[in-house]
């Protein structure tokens, strides 16, 4: 699951806006497979964590109702250009991924 995350962080005045797209199917566990009629098991991201220079600035708990290929944006203060921002996720099937970016 490498490179499932696109992350971009940009300074806007004093605050840093982080935008991210994650590639994940976010299966709800309610859909049925049209061919077999069996319920497709839930497979979704549960935890998202964002770190700025190694300390957490935002962590999120997600349910199944976040859209497929989730989009996430938030902002925080106390950052400067060139700092490192790291985003990681973990899903209910034990998969996880993380990505880093420099703040622009």
């Amino acid at each position: 699951m490498a490179n499932s995350i696109k992350i971009r962080a940009r300074m806007k005045g004093n605050s840093c806006e982080v935008k991210s797209l994650i590639k994940h199917k976010m299966e709800t566990g309610l859909r049925k497979d049209k061919k077999t009629g069996k319920v497709i098991p839930a497979h979704f991201i549960q935890e998202v964590n964002c770190e700025h220079n190694g300390s957490t600035v935002m962590s999120a708990d997600w349910g199944t109702a976040i859209s497929t290929n989730p989009y996430l944006a938030f902002s925080f203060s106390g950052a400067k250009k060139g700092d490192t921002i790291k985003l990681s996720w973990a899903d209910n099937m034990g998969e996880s991924d993380s990505a880093e970016a420099q703040i622009k």
Binding site: S59, D61, W62, G63, A73, F74
Partner: protein
């Protein structure tokens, strides 16, 4: 004779590699997921979800929260939602879709550095209120907006 020995070695190597992979796969995620509020995400009503999340379902409406969502969502599988608040000391922002099977959509935990702004895309099963609950200074505040959904995004 020699051939059999090769096959035997290959077999044992392969199975031990699988065992190691399974072991590693099982160890890491459990620790990460320890804090995930399962009961809140499985709750079937808005008040149960809030009680599981915050020990209270009282979240008075507040003008300090701006909830941005479309009036009509043609596709319930992708409904953009943005929550902005001018409240100070925001601890968390929770997004709820009232009539989803499990109403709790997501909860964002903030730190003192984080600003009161979060934007994401959610799934909605049918036309209902989207509710944003903001916890700031230990108190709950909320804002709601009705979104009309023409095609549901949960199940099918």
């Amino acid at each position: 004779m020699n051939m059999k020995r090769r096959v035997f070695l290959k077999g044992t190597l392969a199975s031990s590699a699988v065992a190691v992979a399974v072991g590693a796969g099982l160890l890491s995620p459990r620790q990460v997921l320890a804090a995930w509020p399962k009961s809140a995400f499985e709750a079937k009503s808005v008040s149960d979800a809030l009680k599981n999340m915050y020990d209270s379902d009282l979240a008075p409406a507040s003008d300090a929260i701006k909830l941005d969502a479309p009036d009509i969502a043609e596709n319930g599988a992708v409904v953009p939602v943005t929550v902005e608040t001018s409240l100070k000391n925001v601890e968390s922002i929770t997004i709820i879709s009232e009539k989803n099977q499990t109403p709790l959509v997501a909860s964002f935990n903030m730190t003192p550095k984080t600003e009161g702004y979060v934007s994401t895309r959610i799934k909605m099963g049918q036309t209902s209120n989207v509710i944003a609950v903001v916890k700031a200074d230990g108190k709950l505040h909320s804002a709601r907006k009705e979104v009309k959904v023409t095609i549901g995004g949960c199940g099918g």
